[in-house]
Symmetry: C2
Subunit: 404 residues, 2 copies
């Protein structure tokens, strides 16, 4: 391993998105991330999307580059093996991350008896420890009630799970913060990250709580428009969509140049008494701007619109479906971040490495996800020093398993 | 400062969400984060939402706990001051994060001439350096084409900016990874994080690229349903909405207990030949489940439904608007993460501290955002050692400014 985090070992007990993605993020930076699962697979072992044969593409995508150990989590022997693994000695070891209930044998206090400087990140549903997922947390933030098409009654959920993503990356950051603290003081610690608090803190950071209290307003649904400046989707002659935005002076000038809107923009400014080079100005005349841009986009193909916007340096993007994205040269096939991998049991498809480019190290190509328990034997032998006959016996006793 | 990152100093040249939120995340963990802006404010100084007086609630929310220095970015003297600040000596200093064009005097190579072990995080629009925002990146990921109500034609954008959030937290993590590397090797480096690659890598991690290539399908719009298991919104008797999900055996049993659905669930299983304790089973009979749950929820008030679901330990959440959230006892007013702050120029409202609870340090209460240039003088004096008369002269020459 030659990544920026080479030498760090993290044992992960996880399921679904937040914890696995956090661990994968560190694995793709060179950490040795060992995910343990129950001998028959965890809660997310068969999570959709799956292949026609029922193999989880979801699981494979969220666990790339990790090692996998499969253990009977209910057996005392299995628990003892994992306790030993989590608390194994070594400078970059002794880091445990989980979104499983960290109680009983997995409680920090229990584990810390075996290794005083243990670092544990416990991702919990909310500050009381109640179970939550992105979907149940998202609904309380206020976003679904303000999202979706104008005139639509009721909530519109997010398809991207934003709070899982935030928790994954902030959790990975927290592990590095705690490891820095241990490096400086020798001290371990438990870090608790409630998914719900992550969502609420971010909602606060984005200004929504302040706006609601200070202005005493709830945002109306504005569809695909960007509140407080200019941006929305436009439909092309060939029934495609492009997103066109203006966030700065430069974007106003570029869009004017792309569409030949210089005079029309000036006329709108004059008539409405606004300045298009301010956020408020653009927002206030968005209806006039839409009425100008709509027919222009509608008169051109997506390729023609894109070429004009690109040439002028406008702020825009073409809408893609997942399938279009997956076969897009610029975005995926020619993007050096992607490598076509053969994921055992699933097949060949483009897989992303880390998006982070560290100057001090080469970016490592992505590695496949493990099969369940693929590394059980090598971990028990390499880290815990178990002899082959002992490992064989544990297999016979069904305390450990894999690969499968 | 007593946070987990005490002793770390980061100079930030930023605008909008990703870079400011990344910096604020570190500031709320105790790092000394100094945001510099043009003397009249940056691109996002007046970004909406704003108060009735035009003060940006957005800016205040994304820059809490930072120090602010305001400098004429076009003047050679101003640039020299910032170069000196970015490259100032000190073990935890020499860290620069920006999403401004890192060219010319802000290029890594230029800055590194003054401090060889400089760490710089450059957030860029895409791998070619083209400008992008969350909105223009989101459209290429595929999510908007698959999001939104069933039957809705065309894309539905995300109201939460997921890729800004991912970039903010992953960027903060990258700074700590690079600082760890410097601590171990003495070596600085430039880290590049393209917003678009962040979005594409995460889309890959969530399985969408794999699904598109392997199964050759595009996800249809499924509205508020959770693909591949069970979950959606339900409307109560008093016209409120609740999200109800089942991700595991326990959630199936809990929902059955809450609604008295034990026999009905068994009948659905028998008739359709499915097992509700599998993802596929729940997904395949979601229409039958919806038909069962809808009238139950519709016959009760939101309070009654919530009480029943909570008592049974179901996986659920109540929808809230931003205003409801902001005055919610459980979520905000009684949540120890929030403190009511007086944000100068804006007013009093609940503001979140970091959602991360580190066992080794007390969580610090949130601090207000600075006024533009509030700390100009103390930074020039305290870090660069400029005498008072020199600072006064720089003010007179309009090289520096603030507070305002």
């Amino acid at each position: 391993m030659t990544g920026i985090l080479a030498g760090l070992r993290i044992v992960e007990g996880s399921a679904f998105i937040a914890a696995p993605l956090g661990g994968m993020t560190l694995a793709q930076l060179g950490a040795d991330v060992i995910r343990f699962d129950h001998i028959h697979g965890g809660l997310d072992a068969e999570r959709w999307p799956v292949t026609r044969e029922g193999r989880s593409i979801y699981w494979a995508s969220l666990n790339k580059g990790k090692r996998s150990i499969a253990v009977d989590l209910r057996s005392p022997k299995g628990r003892e093996l994992l306790t030993a693994l989590i608390t194994a000695p070594g400078e970059g070891a002794g880091i445990f991350t989980t979104n499983m209930p960290a109680r009983g044998w997995l409680a920090y206090e229990e584990l810390a008896k075996r290794r005083a400087d243990l670092i544990a990140l416990n991702i919990v549903g909310d500050r009381h420890g109640t179970a939550n997922v992105d979907y149940t947390v998202n609904v309380v933030t206020g976003f679904p009630m303000a999202a979706g098409p104008v005139g639509h009654h009721g909530p519109v959920n997010s398809l991207v799970p934003p709070w899982d993503l935030a928790t994954a990356y902030a959790g990975a950051m927290a592990i590095l913060a705690a490891e820095r603290h241990r490096r400086m003081t020798g001290q371990g610690q438990r870090v608790v990250l409630p998914l719900q608090d992550m969502a609420l803190a971010t909602t606060s950071a984005l200004g929504y709580v302040g706006e609601a209290v200070i202005n005493q307003t709830d945002r109306p649904k504005v569809g695909n428009e960007i509140f407080g400046t200019f941006g929305r989707e436009f439909r092309t002659k060939d029934d495609r969509y492009v997103m066109i935005c203006m966030f700065s002076d430069r974007h106003v000038d570029a869009l004017a140049a792309a569409g030949g809107f210089e005079e029309a923009f000036a006329a709108i400014e004059k008539k409405a008494g606004v300045n298009l080079k301010t956020d408020a100005g653009r927002w206030n005349v968005r209806a006039e701007l839409n009425a100008l841009i709509e027919p222009w986009v509608a008169s051109l193909t997506a390729e023609e619109v894109g070429a004009a916007l690109k040439r002028a340096g406008a702020l825009w993007g073409p809408y893609r479906t997942f399938r279009e994205l997956s076969s897009d040269r610029e975005l995926v096939l020619d993007n050096p971040m992607f490598t076509v991998l053969d994921q055992p049991g699933i097949g060949r498809y483009p897989v992303a490495a880390t998006p982070l480019q560290f100057g001090a190290v080469e970016r490592e190509p992505p590695r496949p996800a493990p099969l369940l328990g693929q590394h059980t034997d090598e971990i028990l032998s390499g880290i815990l020093g178990l002899p082959a006959h002992e490992i064989a016996r544990l297999h016979d006793e069904k305390v450990i398993g894999g690969p499968r």
